[in-house]
Protein backbone atom coordinates (compact mmCIF):
# COMPACT_ATOMS: atom_id res chain seq x y z
CA UNK A 1 0.00 0.00 0.00
CA UNK A 2 1.37 3.32 -1.07
CA UNK A 3 0.91 6.23 1.30
CA UNK A 4 0.41 9.65 -0.22
CA UNK A 5 0.04 12.83 1.75
CA UNK A 6 -0.47 16.31 0.38
CA UNK A 7 -0.71 19.51 2.40
CA UNK A 8 -1.44 17.95 5.77
CA UNK A 9 -1.73 20.50 8.56
CA UNK A 10 -2.86 19.58 12.03
CA UNK A 11 -3.76 21.92 14.86
CA UNK A 12 -4.42 20.69 18.41
CA UNK A 13 -7.25 22.44 20.34
CA UNK A 14 -8.33 24.13 17.13
CA UNK A 15 -11.23 25.88 18.80
CA UNK A 16 -9.38 27.63 21.57
CA UNK A 17 -7.22 30.56 20.53
CA UNK A 18 -5.08 30.48 23.67
CA UNK A 19 -4.41 26.72 23.69
CA UNK A 20 -4.19 25.92 20.00
CA UNK A 21 -0.95 24.50 18.79
CA UNK A 22 0.12 23.64 15.28
CA UNK A 23 1.72 20.19 15.39
CA UNK A 24 1.97 19.62 11.63
CA UNK A 25 2.44 22.33 9.06
CA UNK A 26 1.77 21.63 5.41
CA UNK A 27 3.28 18.16 5.14
CA UNK A 28 3.54 16.48 1.76
CA UNK A 29 5.12 13.06 1.57
CA UNK A 30 4.97 9.77 -0.29
CA UNK A 31 5.90 6.44 1.26
CA UNK A 32 6.23 3.71 -1.35
CA UNK A 33 5.22 0.11 -0.83
CA UNK A 34 8.33 -1.75 0.30
CA UNK A 35 10.00 1.18 2.02
CA UNK A 36 11.73 0.87 5.35
CA UNK A 37 10.96 4.46 6.16
CA UNK A 38 12.48 6.48 9.00
CA UNK A 39 10.89 9.56 10.51
CA UNK A 40 13.30 11.59 12.59
CA UNK A 41 13.25 14.92 14.39
CA UNK A 42 13.55 16.42 17.84
CA UNK A 43 10.98 15.68 20.55
CA UNK A 44 7.94 17.80 19.75
CA UNK A 45 8.64 18.05 16.02
CA UNK A 46 5.33 16.37 15.16
CA UNK A 47 6.55 12.83 14.38
CA UNK A 48 4.03 11.04 16.58
CA UNK A 49 1.15 13.23 15.43
CA UNK A 50 2.02 12.40 11.85
CA UNK A 51 2.25 8.63 12.23
CA UNK A 52 -1.00 8.47 14.19
CA UNK A 53 -2.75 9.82 11.10
CA UNK A 54 -1.68 6.79 9.09
CA UNK A 55 -4.18 4.44 10.71
CA UNK A 56 -6.77 7.07 11.47
CA UNK A 57 -6.13 7.46 15.20
CA UNK A 58 -5.96 11.16 14.46
CA UNK A 59 -8.37 12.28 11.79
CA UNK A 60 -7.31 14.69 9.08
CA UNK A 61 -8.53 18.25 9.41
CA UNK A 62 -10.41 20.09 6.67
CA UNK A 63 -7.53 21.74 4.85
CA UNK A 64 -5.74 18.46 4.02
CA UNK A 65 -5.70 18.06 0.26
CA UNK A 66 -4.90 14.37 0.05
CA UNK A 67 -4.20 11.50 2.43
CA UNK A 68 -4.41 8.01 0.98
CA UNK A 69 -3.18 4.70 2.33
CA UNK A 70 -3.56 2.21 -0.50
CA UNK A 71 -7.20 2.35 -1.48
CA UNK A 72 -8.25 4.11 1.73
CA UNK A 73 -9.01 7.81 1.51
CA UNK A 74 -8.45 9.28 4.96
CA UNK A 75 -9.86 12.68 4.09
CA UNK A 76 -13.21 11.00 3.47
CA UNK A 77 -15.44 10.98 6.53
CA UNK A 78 -16.87 7.61 5.52
CA UNK A 79 -13.46 5.90 5.47
CA UNK A 80 -13.62 2.35 6.89
CA UNK A 81 -11.15 2.79 9.72
CA UNK A 82 -11.59 -0.68 11.09
CA UNK A 83 -10.56 -2.29 7.85
CA UNK A 84 -7.71 0.21 7.52
CA UNK A 85 -6.41 -0.62 10.98
CA UNK A 86 -6.34 -4.33 10.25
CA UNK A 87 -3.93 -3.54 7.42
CA UNK A 88 -1.89 -0.83 9.13
CA UNK A 89 -0.47 -2.06 12.44
CA UNK A 90 0.65 0.51 14.97
CA UNK A 91 3.16 -0.19 17.73
CA UNK A 92 3.39 2.51 20.36
CA UNK A 93 6.27 3.37 22.65
CA UNK A 94 6.59 0.77 25.40
CA UNK A 95 3.91 -1.46 23.84
CA UNK A 96 4.19 -3.88 26.76
CA UNK A 97 2.09 -1.42 28.77
CA UNK A 98 -0.98 -2.20 26.66
CA UNK A 99 -1.17 -5.89 27.64
CA UNK A 100 -4.31 -6.75 29.57
CA UNK A 101 -5.47 -10.34 29.15
CA UNK A 102 -5.02 -13.27 31.50
CA UNK A 103 -3.01 -15.32 29.04
CA UNK A 104 -0.63 -14.55 26.24
CA UNK A 105 -2.94 -16.37 23.84
CA UNK A 106 -5.94 -14.21 24.69
CA UNK A 107 -3.95 -11.03 24.45
CA UNK A 108 -2.59 -11.81 21.01
CA UNK A 109 -6.03 -12.95 19.91
CA UNK A 110 -7.63 -9.61 20.87
CA UNK A 111 -7.09 -7.81 17.56
CA UNK A 112 -8.11 -10.85 15.57
CA UNK A 113 -11.43 -11.10 17.41
CA UNK A 114 -12.09 -7.42 16.87
CA UNK A 115 -11.23 -7.31 13.19
CA UNK A 116 -12.43 -10.72 12.04
CA UNK A 117 -15.23 -11.85 14.35
CA UNK A 118 -16.31 -14.51 11.85
CA UNK A 119 -13.19 -16.67 12.02
CA UNK A 120 -13.55 -20.14 13.53
CA UNK A 121 -11.74 -21.06 16.71
CA UNK A 122 -9.24 -23.20 14.73
CA UNK A 123 -8.48 -20.46 12.25
CA UNK A 124 -7.91 -18.05 15.08
CA UNK A 125 -5.65 -20.44 16.99
CA UNK A 126 -3.57 -21.01 13.90
CA UNK A 127 -3.07 -17.30 13.31
CA UNK A 128 -2.25 -16.62 16.96
CA UNK A 129 0.28 -19.44 16.88
CA UNK A 130 1.92 -18.04 13.78
CA UNK A 131 2.13 -14.56 15.26
CA UNK A 132 3.67 -15.77 18.51
CA UNK A 133 6.21 -17.87 16.64
CA UNK A 134 7.04 -15.02 14.28
CA UNK A 135 8.15 -12.85 17.20
CA UNK A 136 10.40 -15.66 18.35
CA UNK A 137 8.51 -17.10 21.30
CA UNK A 138 7.72 -20.75 21.93
CA UNK A 139 3.96 -21.02 21.41
CA UNK A 140 3.37 -24.10 23.55
CA UNK A 141 5.39 -22.71 26.41
CA UNK A 142 3.93 -19.23 26.56
CA UNK A 143 0.34 -19.53 25.36
CA UNK A 144 -1.19 -20.12 28.78
CA UNK A 145 1.22 -17.93 30.69
CA UNK A 146 0.14 -14.60 32.11
CA UNK A 147 1.87 -11.88 30.12
CA UNK A 148 2.56 -10.07 33.37
CA UNK A 149 4.85 -12.83 34.60
CA UNK A 150 7.19 -12.45 31.64
CA UNK A 151 10.37 -10.39 31.36
CA UNK A 152 10.31 -6.92 29.79
CA UNK A 153 11.70 -8.06 26.46
CA UNK A 154 9.27 -10.97 26.22
CA UNK A 155 6.32 -8.73 27.06
CA UNK A 156 7.29 -6.47 24.23
CA UNK A 157 7.34 -9.44 21.87
CA UNK A 158 3.87 -10.49 23.00
CA UNK A 159 2.63 -6.95 22.34
CA UNK A 160 4.13 -7.00 18.84
CA UNK A 161 2.53 -10.40 18.21
CA UNK A 162 -0.80 -8.81 19.16
CA UNK A 163 -0.30 -6.23 16.44
CA UNK A 164 1.00 -8.45 13.63
CA UNK A 165 -1.59 -11.17 14.22
CA UNK A 166 -3.75 -9.63 11.48
CA UNK A 167 -0.79 -9.72 9.09
CA UNK A 168 -0.75 -5.98 8.38
CA UNK A 169 0.88 -4.78 5.18
CA UNK A 170 2.12 -1.62 6.84
CA UNK A 171 3.70 -1.56 10.28
CA UNK A 172 4.27 1.74 12.07
CA UNK A 173 6.52 1.74 15.14
CA UNK A 174 7.05 4.68 17.49
CA UNK A 175 10.46 4.43 19.23
CA UNK A 176 10.45 0.63 19.06
CA UNK A 177 13.78 0.00 20.82
CA UNK A 178 13.39 2.48 23.69
CA UNK A 179 14.32 0.86 27.01
CA UNK A 180 15.77 -2.31 25.49
CA UNK A 181 19.32 -3.31 26.35
CA UNK A 182 21.85 -3.62 23.49
CA UNK A 183 21.17 -7.29 22.90
CA UNK A 184 17.40 -6.81 23.05
CA UNK A 185 17.78 -3.97 20.58
CA UNK A 186 19.72 -6.05 18.06
CA UNK A 187 17.26 -8.92 18.31
CA UNK A 188 14.37 -6.54 17.84
CA UNK A 189 15.87 -5.09 14.67
CA UNK A 190 16.39 -8.59 13.35
CA UNK A 191 12.72 -9.26 14.01
CA UNK A 192 11.72 -6.15 12.08
CA UNK A 193 13.87 -7.18 9.11
CA UNK A 194 12.34 -10.65 9.18
CA UNK A 195 8.85 -9.16 9.16
CA UNK A 196 9.82 -6.85 6.32
CA UNK A 197 10.94 -9.83 4.24
CA UNK A 198 7.73 -11.65 5.11
CA UNK A 199 4.19 -10.26 4.95
CA UNK A 200 4.86 -6.72 6.15
CA UNK A 201 5.53 -4.75 3.00
CA UNK A 202 6.19 -1.32 4.45
CA UNK A 203 7.80 -0.45 7.78
CA UNK A 204 7.71 3.07 9.16
CA UNK A 205 9.73 3.82 12.27
CA UNK A 206 9.95 6.93 14.39
CA UNK A 207 13.29 7.03 16.17
CA UNK A 208 15.86 9.19 17.89
CA UNK A 209 18.56 6.65 17.18
CA UNK A 210 20.33 7.91 14.06
CA UNK A 211 22.65 4.92 13.85
CA UNK A 212 19.66 2.62 13.75
CA UNK A 213 17.94 4.74 11.10
CA UNK A 214 21.05 5.04 8.90
CA UNK A 215 21.67 1.31 9.12
CA UNK A 216 18.16 0.12 8.34
CA UNK A 217 16.08 2.69 6.48
CA UNK A 218 16.14 3.21 2.75
CA UNK A 219 14.40 6.55 3.08
CA UNK A 220 14.16 9.18 5.78
CA UNK A 221 12.00 12.23 6.41
CA UNK A 222 13.35 14.90 8.74
CA UNK A 223 10.76 16.89 10.68
CA UNK A 224 11.24 20.16 12.46
CA UNK A 225 8.51 22.15 14.19
CA UNK A 226 5.84 20.32 12.21
CA UNK A 227 7.43 20.89 8.81
CA UNK A 228 9.34 18.50 6.60
CA UNK A 229 12.91 19.73 6.26
CA UNK A 230 13.98 17.09 3.76
CA UNK A 231 13.24 13.60 2.50
CA UNK A 232 15.78 11.28 0.95
CA UNK A 233 18.09 8.31 1.41
CA UNK A 234 20.27 8.23 4.55
CA UNK A 235 23.20 9.35 2.40
CA UNK A 236 21.27 12.30 0.96
CA UNK A 237 20.12 13.36 4.42
CA UNK A 238 23.16 12.83 6.58
CA UNK A 239 25.86 13.90 4.16
CA UNK A 240 24.39 17.40 3.94
CA UNK A 241 25.78 19.04 7.02
CA UNK A 242 23.17 21.77 7.41
CA UNK A 243 20.07 19.52 7.34
CA UNK A 244 21.09 17.55 10.37
CA UNK A 245 22.43 20.43 12.38
CA UNK A 246 19.50 22.76 11.72
CA UNK A 247 17.10 20.06 12.84
CA UNK A 248 18.79 19.47 16.19
CA UNK A 249 19.78 15.91 15.33
CA UNK A 250 22.95 13.91 15.86
CA UNK A 251 24.88 12.42 12.98
CA UNK A 252 25.07 8.66 12.66
CA UNK A 253 28.58 7.51 13.50
CA UNK A 254 29.37 6.44 9.94
CA UNK A 255 28.24 9.80 8.54
CA UNK A 256 30.30 11.65 11.14
CA UNK A 257 33.42 9.64 10.29
CA UNK A 258 32.89 10.05 6.58
CA UNK A 259 32.60 13.81 6.96
CA UNK A 260 35.61 14.15 9.23
CA UNK A 261 37.75 11.86 7.09
CA UNK A 262 36.94 13.88 4.01
CA UNK A 263 38.35 16.96 5.75
CA UNK A 264 41.52 14.94 6.26
CA UNK A 265 41.66 14.17 2.56
CA UNK A 266 40.17 10.66 2.75
CA UNK A 267 37.14 10.47 0.50
CA UNK A 268 34.78 7.59 1.19
CA UNK A 269 31.48 7.02 -0.54
CA UNK A 270 29.52 4.53 1.54
CA UNK A 271 25.74 4.36 1.90
CA UNK A 272 26.29 4.78 5.67
CA UNK A 273 25.56 1.19 6.66
CA UNK A 274 28.32 -0.30 8.78
CA UNK A 275 29.17 -3.08 6.34
CA UNK A 276 29.40 -0.75 3.38
CA UNK A 277 31.47 1.71 5.39
CA UNK A 278 33.94 -1.04 6.36
CA UNK A 279 34.08 -2.07 2.71
CA UNK A 280 34.88 1.49 1.63
CA UNK A 281 37.65 1.85 4.23
CA UNK A 282 39.07 -1.46 3.06
CA UNK A 283 39.08 -0.32 -0.56
CA UNK A 284 40.78 2.90 0.45
CA UNK A 285 43.36 0.93 2.43
CA UNK A 286 44.08 -1.44 -0.46
CA UNK A 287 44.48 1.55 -2.78
CA UNK A 288 47.06 3.37 -0.66
CA UNK A 289 48.88 0.14 0.08
CA UNK A 290 48.93 -0.77 -3.61
CA UNK A 291 50.28 2.70 -4.39
CA UNK A 292 53.25 2.35 -2.06
Amino acid sequence: MRIEVENLTFVYSEKSKSLQYKALDDISLTIEEGDFFGIVGETGSGKSTFVQHINGLIKTQKNCKKFTVGEFDLTDKKCDYKSLRSKVGMVFQYPEYQLFAETVFEDVEFGLKNFFPNLTQEERSEKVKQAIETVGLDFERVKNKSPFEMSGGQKRRVAIAGVIVTRPEVLVLDEPVAGLDPKGKLEFIKLLKRLHNDFVKTIIIVSHDMDLVAENCNKIAVLKKGKIVETGSPKEIFCQKNIVENSGLDLPLTAYLQRELEQNGIKLNSDLTVDNFVEEVKNYYCKIKGGK
Binding site: L57, M90, F92, Y97, A101, F110, G111
Partner: protein, 265 residues
Amino acid sequence: MKEFSFGSYYPENSFVHKMDARVKILLSIAYIVAVFLVKNNTWINYLGFVPCLLFVIIVAVVSKIPFIKVVKSIKTIIFFVILSALLQIFFNKSGTPLWKNGFITDKGLYNAGYIFLRIVLVVMGASLLTFTTSPVEIADGIESLLTPLKLIKFPVHEFALVMSIALRFIPTLLDETDRIIKAQTSRGADFNSGNIFKKAKALIPILIPLLISSFRRADELADAMDARCYAGSKNRTKYKKMKLSLRDLIGTLFTALLIVGVCFL
Protein backbone atom coordinates in the same frame (compact mmCIF):
# COMPACT_ATOMS: atom_id res chain seq x y z
CA MET B 1 -5.19 15.73 26.47
CA LYS B 2 -1.97 17.57 27.21
CA GLU B 3 -3.90 20.80 27.64
CA PHE B 4 -6.00 19.49 30.47
CA SER B 5 -5.73 21.58 33.60
CA PHE B 6 -7.55 20.43 36.64
CA GLY B 7 -10.00 22.87 38.19
CA SER B 8 -9.37 25.16 35.22
CA TYR B 9 -6.86 27.36 37.04
CA TYR B 10 -6.44 30.63 35.17
CA PRO B 11 -3.01 32.07 35.96
CA GLU B 12 -3.01 35.84 36.43
CA ASN B 13 -1.25 38.25 38.69
CA SER B 14 -4.24 39.80 40.38
CA PHE B 15 -5.36 40.94 43.80
CA VAL B 16 -7.56 37.86 44.21
CA HIS B 17 -4.91 35.46 42.92
CA LYS B 18 -2.51 36.74 45.54
CA MET B 19 -4.93 36.28 48.42
CA ASP B 20 -4.31 33.50 50.93
CA ALA B 21 -5.88 30.24 49.74
CA ARG B 22 -7.33 29.51 53.19
CA VAL B 23 -9.12 32.84 53.24
CA LYS B 24 -10.42 32.29 49.74
CA ILE B 25 -11.79 28.87 50.66
CA LEU B 26 -13.56 30.25 53.73
CA LEU B 27 -14.91 33.23 51.81
CA SER B 28 -16.21 30.94 49.09
CA ILE B 29 -18.09 29.02 51.73
CA ALA B 30 -19.41 32.29 53.13
CA TYR B 31 -20.54 33.31 49.67
CA ILE B 32 -22.38 30.04 49.15
CA VAL B 33 -24.08 30.51 52.51
CA ALA B 34 -25.07 34.00 51.41
CA VAL B 35 -26.66 32.65 48.25
CA PHE B 36 -28.64 30.19 50.35
CA LEU B 37 -29.69 32.99 52.72
CA VAL B 38 -31.61 34.76 49.99
CA LYS B 39 -35.23 34.76 51.14
CA ASN B 40 -37.68 32.58 49.35
CA ASN B 41 -41.24 33.91 49.50
CA THR B 42 -42.27 36.36 46.86
CA TRP B 43 -40.97 37.58 43.55
CA ILE B 44 -39.49 40.63 45.25
CA ASN B 45 -37.03 38.31 47.06
CA TYR B 46 -35.26 37.76 43.73
CA LEU B 47 -33.64 41.11 44.49
CA GLY B 48 -31.54 39.24 47.03
CA PHE B 49 -29.62 37.65 44.16
CA VAL B 50 -28.54 41.03 42.87
CA PRO B 51 -25.75 41.56 45.45
CA CYS B 52 -24.57 37.99 44.80
CA LEU B 53 -24.36 38.57 41.08
CA LEU B 54 -22.65 41.91 41.68
CA PHE B 55 -20.20 40.13 43.95
CA VAL B 56 -19.34 37.59 41.25
CA ILE B 57 -18.92 40.30 38.63
CA ILE B 58 -16.73 42.44 40.84
CA VAL B 59 -14.52 39.52 41.89
CA ALA B 60 -14.18 38.43 38.25
CA VAL B 61 -13.16 41.94 37.21
CA VAL B 62 -10.67 42.29 40.06
CA SER B 63 -9.17 38.85 39.26
CA LYS B 64 -8.85 39.83 35.57
CA ILE B 65 -10.82 36.74 34.54
CA PRO B 66 -12.98 37.23 31.43
CA PHE B 67 -16.57 37.13 32.65
CA ILE B 68 -17.51 34.86 29.77
CA LYS B 69 -15.23 32.16 31.28
CA VAL B 70 -17.11 32.42 34.56
CA VAL B 71 -20.43 32.05 32.75
CA LYS B 72 -19.11 29.08 30.79
CA SER B 73 -18.22 27.30 34.02
CA ILE B 74 -21.89 26.34 34.38
CA LYS B 75 -21.71 24.43 31.11
CA THR B 76 -20.97 21.10 32.76
CA ILE B 77 -23.98 21.20 35.05
CA ILE B 78 -26.42 23.06 32.81
CA PHE B 79 -28.34 19.88 32.07
CA PHE B 80 -28.86 19.25 35.76
CA VAL B 81 -29.93 22.85 36.36
CA ILE B 82 -32.47 22.90 33.57
CA LEU B 83 -33.81 19.52 34.62
CA SER B 84 -34.46 20.66 38.18
CA ALA B 85 -36.07 23.87 36.92
CA LEU B 86 -38.33 21.92 34.56
CA LEU B 87 -39.32 19.52 37.33
CA GLN B 88 -40.44 22.53 39.36
CA ILE B 89 -42.40 24.00 36.49
CA PHE B 90 -44.25 20.85 35.58
CA PHE B 91 -44.69 19.07 38.85
CA ASN B 92 -45.10 21.75 41.48
CA LYS B 93 -48.82 21.67 42.29
CA SER B 94 -48.92 24.32 45.00
CA GLY B 95 -49.85 27.91 44.21
CA THR B 96 -52.41 29.05 41.66
CA PRO B 97 -52.48 27.84 38.06
CA LEU B 98 -51.36 30.44 35.54
CA TRP B 99 -54.40 29.78 33.37
CA LYS B 100 -57.64 27.97 33.92
CA ASN B 101 -57.12 24.23 34.40
CA GLY B 102 -53.44 24.70 33.48
CA PHE B 103 -50.91 22.58 35.29
CA ILE B 104 -48.23 25.26 35.52
CA THR B 105 -48.58 27.30 38.67
CA ASP B 106 -47.11 30.66 39.60
CA LYS B 107 -45.40 29.03 42.56
CA GLY B 108 -43.84 26.40 40.27
CA LEU B 109 -42.49 29.06 37.97
CA TYR B 110 -41.22 31.08 40.88
CA ASN B 111 -39.43 28.06 42.36
CA ALA B 112 -37.93 27.10 39.01
CA GLY B 113 -36.39 30.53 38.57
CA TYR B 114 -35.25 30.54 42.17
CA ILE B 115 -33.50 27.17 41.92
CA PHE B 116 -31.98 28.08 38.60
CA LEU B 117 -30.48 31.31 39.91
CA ARG B 118 -29.28 29.70 43.09
CA ILE B 119 -27.34 26.88 41.43
CA VAL B 120 -25.92 29.09 38.72
CA LEU B 121 -24.68 31.63 41.25
CA VAL B 122 -23.16 28.97 43.51
CA VAL B 123 -21.29 27.36 40.62
CA MET B 124 -20.05 30.69 39.27
CA GLY B 125 -18.79 31.65 42.71
CA ALA B 126 -17.07 28.29 43.25
CA SER B 127 -15.48 28.51 39.82
CA LEU B 128 -13.93 31.83 40.84
CA LEU B 129 -12.10 29.97 43.59
CA THR B 130 -10.67 27.39 41.18
CA PHE B 131 -9.90 30.03 38.56
CA THR B 132 -7.86 32.12 40.98
CA THR B 133 -6.30 29.39 43.13
CA SER B 134 -4.09 26.59 41.83
CA PRO B 135 -4.99 23.03 42.89
CA VAL B 136 -1.81 22.89 44.94
CA GLU B 137 -2.76 26.03 46.83
CA ILE B 138 -6.23 24.65 47.45
CA ALA B 139 -4.77 21.41 48.76
CA ASP B 140 -2.36 23.32 51.02
CA GLY B 141 -5.21 25.57 52.13
CA ILE B 142 -7.39 22.62 53.05
CA GLU B 143 -4.51 21.02 54.92
CA SER B 144 -3.99 24.16 56.93
CA LEU B 145 -7.70 24.58 57.65
CA LEU B 146 -7.96 20.98 58.79
CA THR B 147 -5.03 21.28 61.20
CA PRO B 148 -7.27 21.42 64.27
CA LEU B 149 -8.43 17.89 63.37
CA LYS B 150 -4.98 16.64 64.38
CA LEU B 151 -6.30 16.87 67.92
CA ILE B 152 -8.68 14.01 67.20
CA LYS B 153 -5.80 12.08 65.52
CA PHE B 154 -7.02 12.74 61.98
CA PRO B 155 -3.95 12.28 59.65
CA VAL B 156 -4.11 15.79 58.20
CA HIS B 157 -0.63 15.78 56.68
CA GLU B 158 -1.06 12.40 55.02
CA PHE B 159 -4.46 13.41 53.73
CA ALA B 160 -3.01 16.57 52.18
CA LEU B 161 -0.06 14.70 50.68
CA VAL B 162 -2.39 12.18 49.09
CA MET B 163 -4.41 15.04 47.64
CA SER B 164 -1.44 16.84 46.17
CA ILE B 165 0.09 13.66 44.75
CA ALA B 166 -3.24 12.82 43.16
CA LEU B 167 -3.32 16.26 41.57
CA ARG B 168 0.25 15.85 40.39
CA PHE B 169 -0.51 12.53 38.71
CA ILE B 170 -3.76 13.44 36.98
CA PRO B 171 -2.09 14.80 33.82
CA THR B 172 0.35 11.86 33.72
CA LEU B 173 -2.43 9.30 33.98
CA LEU B 174 -4.54 11.12 31.40
CA ASP B 175 -1.65 10.94 28.96
CA GLU B 176 -1.26 7.28 29.68
CA THR B 177 -5.00 6.62 29.24
CA ASP B 178 -4.87 8.40 25.93
CA ARG B 179 -1.98 6.23 24.77
CA ILE B 180 -3.61 2.97 25.84
CA ILE B 181 -6.91 3.91 24.19
CA LYS B 182 -5.04 4.61 20.98
CA ALA B 183 -3.07 1.37 21.16
CA GLN B 184 -6.22 -0.70 21.68
CA THR B 185 -8.10 1.25 19.00
CA SER B 186 -5.29 0.29 16.62
CA ARG B 187 -5.99 -3.32 17.53
CA GLY B 188 -9.60 -2.88 16.52
CA ALA B 189 -11.17 -2.15 19.90
CA ASP B 190 -14.43 -0.25 19.60
CA PHE B 191 -15.57 1.81 22.56
CA ASN B 192 -18.60 3.47 21.06
CA SER B 193 -20.95 0.84 19.73
CA GLY B 194 -23.13 -1.74 21.42
CA ASN B 195 -25.27 -1.59 24.52
CA ILE B 196 -24.08 -0.47 27.92
CA PHE B 197 -22.77 -3.94 28.88
CA LYS B 198 -20.77 -4.23 25.71
CA LYS B 199 -19.36 -0.78 26.30
CA ALA B 200 -18.43 -1.64 29.86
CA LYS B 201 -16.71 -4.80 28.66
CA ALA B 202 -14.82 -2.84 26.04
CA LEU B 203 -13.24 -0.81 28.83
CA ILE B 204 -11.39 -3.80 30.32
CA PRO B 205 -8.47 -3.59 27.86
CA ILE B 206 -7.99 0.00 29.00
CA LEU B 207 -8.62 -0.31 32.70
CA ILE B 208 -6.36 -3.28 33.35
CA PRO B 209 -3.21 -1.81 31.79
CA LEU B 210 -4.00 1.48 33.48
CA LEU B 211 -4.41 -0.19 36.84
CA ILE B 212 -1.20 -2.16 36.45
CA SER B 213 0.75 0.88 35.41
CA SER B 214 -0.69 2.86 38.31
CA PHE B 215 0.55 0.20 40.72
CA ARG B 216 3.95 0.28 39.06
CA ARG B 217 4.05 4.05 39.33
CA ALA B 218 2.96 3.88 42.97
CA ASP B 219 5.78 1.44 43.71
CA GLU B 220 8.35 3.62 42.04
CA LEU B 221 6.97 6.72 43.71
CA ALA B 222 7.21 5.04 47.10
CA ASP B 223 10.87 4.18 46.42
CA ALA B 224 11.60 7.71 45.28
CA MET B 225 9.94 9.15 48.38
CA ASP B 226 11.80 6.75 50.66
CA ALA B 227 15.05 7.62 48.93
CA ARG B 228 14.37 11.25 49.74
CA CYS B 229 13.99 10.48 53.44
CA TYR B 230 10.21 10.62 53.69
CA ALA B 231 8.98 9.42 57.07
CA GLY B 232 5.55 10.91 57.61
CA SER B 233 4.85 14.20 59.32
CA LYS B 234 7.19 13.66 62.25
CA ASN B 235 9.91 16.32 62.51
CA ARG B 236 8.97 17.60 59.10
CA THR B 237 9.33 21.28 58.26
CA LYS B 238 7.39 23.17 55.67
CA TYR B 239 9.01 25.37 53.08
CA LYS B 240 5.93 27.35 52.18
CA LYS B 241 4.22 29.23 54.92
CA MET B 242 0.90 30.84 54.28
CA LYS B 243 0.78 34.39 55.49
CA LEU B 244 -2.25 36.57 55.93
CA SER B 245 -2.01 40.07 54.52
CA LEU B 246 -4.03 43.24 54.25
CA ARG B 247 -5.45 41.88 51.02
CA ASP B 248 -7.17 39.08 52.91
CA LEU B 249 -8.72 41.54 55.34
CA ILE B 250 -10.10 43.64 52.47
CA GLY B 251 -11.50 40.53 50.79
CA THR B 252 -13.15 39.44 54.02
CA LEU B 253 -14.75 42.84 54.62
CA PHE B 254 -16.05 42.89 51.07
CA THR B 255 -17.66 39.47 51.50
CA ALA B 256 -19.15 40.55 54.82
CA LEU B 257 -20.75 43.44 52.99
CA LEU B 258 -22.37 40.96 50.63
CA ILE B 259 -23.88 38.94 53.44
CA VAL B 260 -25.25 42.04 55.11
CA GLY B 261 -26.71 43.13 51.77
CA VAL B 262 -28.41 39.79 51.26
CA CYS B 263 -29.85 39.78 54.75
CA PHE B 264 -31.43 43.19 54.27
CA LEU B 265 -33.07 42.43 50.95
